[in-house]
């Protein structure tokens, strides 16, 4: 391979053989992820696009649930894949961490960084318009319930925005993304004990904020 020019593996095969029967030859969505990763590690952008397509929704969803803002989540999605591409040579499947977990780790760190950066710039919680523009809950047809839910959501958002970044991440991963405590510890390079502590504190903060709504009528369990 010439210096300064990364020629995709499949292309070398194409240029050197007449009838390639190797699975590397075909890059499409059916190609298995490990093969795509190997090609992307060689600098193949088409293979990296396949990886992007396979994981974008999960990464975006996590960033959005954490940051609760579409534009910030889009920035994190972008940063996650740029960082992943540059760090791809460091990814070793034989080390036991699957690619999805590896990517989640990058996304988690990018999201926490984004939150810290945004907090430095602006300490205010979500703007009321942003809260109003969030997708509505299922029963918004009843105006009374809808107004009440909007008020509760503002309290939830305020409570979440007051949590320290890691605490908020633990809560997001456990409550909204359904990660287990062990998976969260893995994503944050932390211990299960520490994750539990963050989770307890986050839930306690939310309980304090939402106490007045649950002691009113309407939320009987």
């Amino acid at each position: 391979m010439g210096t300064g020019c990364v020629v995709p593996l499949y292309l070398i095969k194409l240029l050197s053989t007449k009838a390639p029967a190797d699975p590397f030859f075909c890059i499409d969505t059916t190609m298995d992820e490990q093969a795509c990763i190997r090609l992307a590690q060689e600098g193949d952008r088409a293979a990296f696009r396949v990886i992007f397509d396979g994981h974008r929704q999960r990464v975006f969803s996590l960033a959005y649930r954490y940051l609760r803002n579409q534009a910030d989540a889009e920035d994190v999605l972008q940063d996650t894949f740029i960082k992943a591409y540059h760090a791809l040579s460091l990814y070793r499947p034989d080390k036991g961490l699957n690619f999805s977990a590896w990517l989640t780790k990058i996304c988690v760190n990018a999201s926490i960084d984004a939150l810290r950066k945004n907090r430095g710039k602006n300490l205010q919680p979500l703007e009321p318009e942003e809260v109003a523009n969030m997708p509505a809950p299922s029963h918004s047809s009843d105006p009374e319930i809808s107004t009440r839910n909007k008020e509760i959501r503002e309290h939830v958002d305020r409570a979440l925005s007051n949590l320290p970044p890691r605490q908020r991440m633990v809560f997001t991963l456990r409550h909204y993304q359904d990660f287990s405590i062990r998976e969260i510890a893995e994503s944050l390079d932390s211990t299960e004990g520490s994750v539990k502590k963050h989770l307890f504190r986050a839930v306690e903060s939310l309980k304090k904020r939402l106490r007045r709504f649950v002691t009113e009528d309407g939320y009987e369990v």
Partner: protein, 240 residues
Amino acid sequence: MKCKEAKNLIILELYGELEESEKARLHSHLEQCRDCSGESALTKKVFAVLDEVEPAAVPSTDWDRTWDRVQAGIAGLPARRRPERASGWRWAFAGTGLVLVLVAGIFIGRYALSPSPEPIAVSAAVVAPAPNGIRPAFAAHLEDLKPILLDYAHYVPGEKSGRKISVDEEVLRGLILQNILLKRKLVEKDPAAADLLDDLDLILKEITNRGTQNSQAPARIRDLIEQRGVLFKMEIMKNL
């Protein structure tokens, strides 16, 4: 069991993170402790509220635009981001600046400049000559690719006319190699041309990998040509 521990176990139980033995310990404590029993009910209600108000769906986003930004970031170009929201005082500052510029413009126009009898001639921009002989080769390469790309660009799914796009494997192989060599030559001298060759590289790969076997492949390639504005860029670049 102490109440503080029970409080924590209540949370873990709601998340399904409690083992059977711990669950039994917790429930035996809750039966005896009124405070913790109340705490358990409160936590359940808070969880119900959280689930109730949480939006079910994550909003949709433009994946292709994000991918373009990712590619720019990978290439070391500044990845475009959404413009940051300016705070109130920034808007005020910008507005004041605009007014000052307008006032200064009116003043200069009225008092400082005398009316010009002749319209001011605009000197034509001089296009720098091609750095070396690579340009004709680049233009010839674009000409070679054009008929293939036009075939895909005009592809209509389910067309009854039976027009089938076929590209000779040998020709395709030659074009890919040519594309790589040109890109290597132009990457430093002419980044815009190298960008176009990058797009062409992607399209040629799609044609190579998907071919005409897959019924959706031509449509995907057509969309790719359209999204990247490749034909338009080729028209512009071949004349430079």
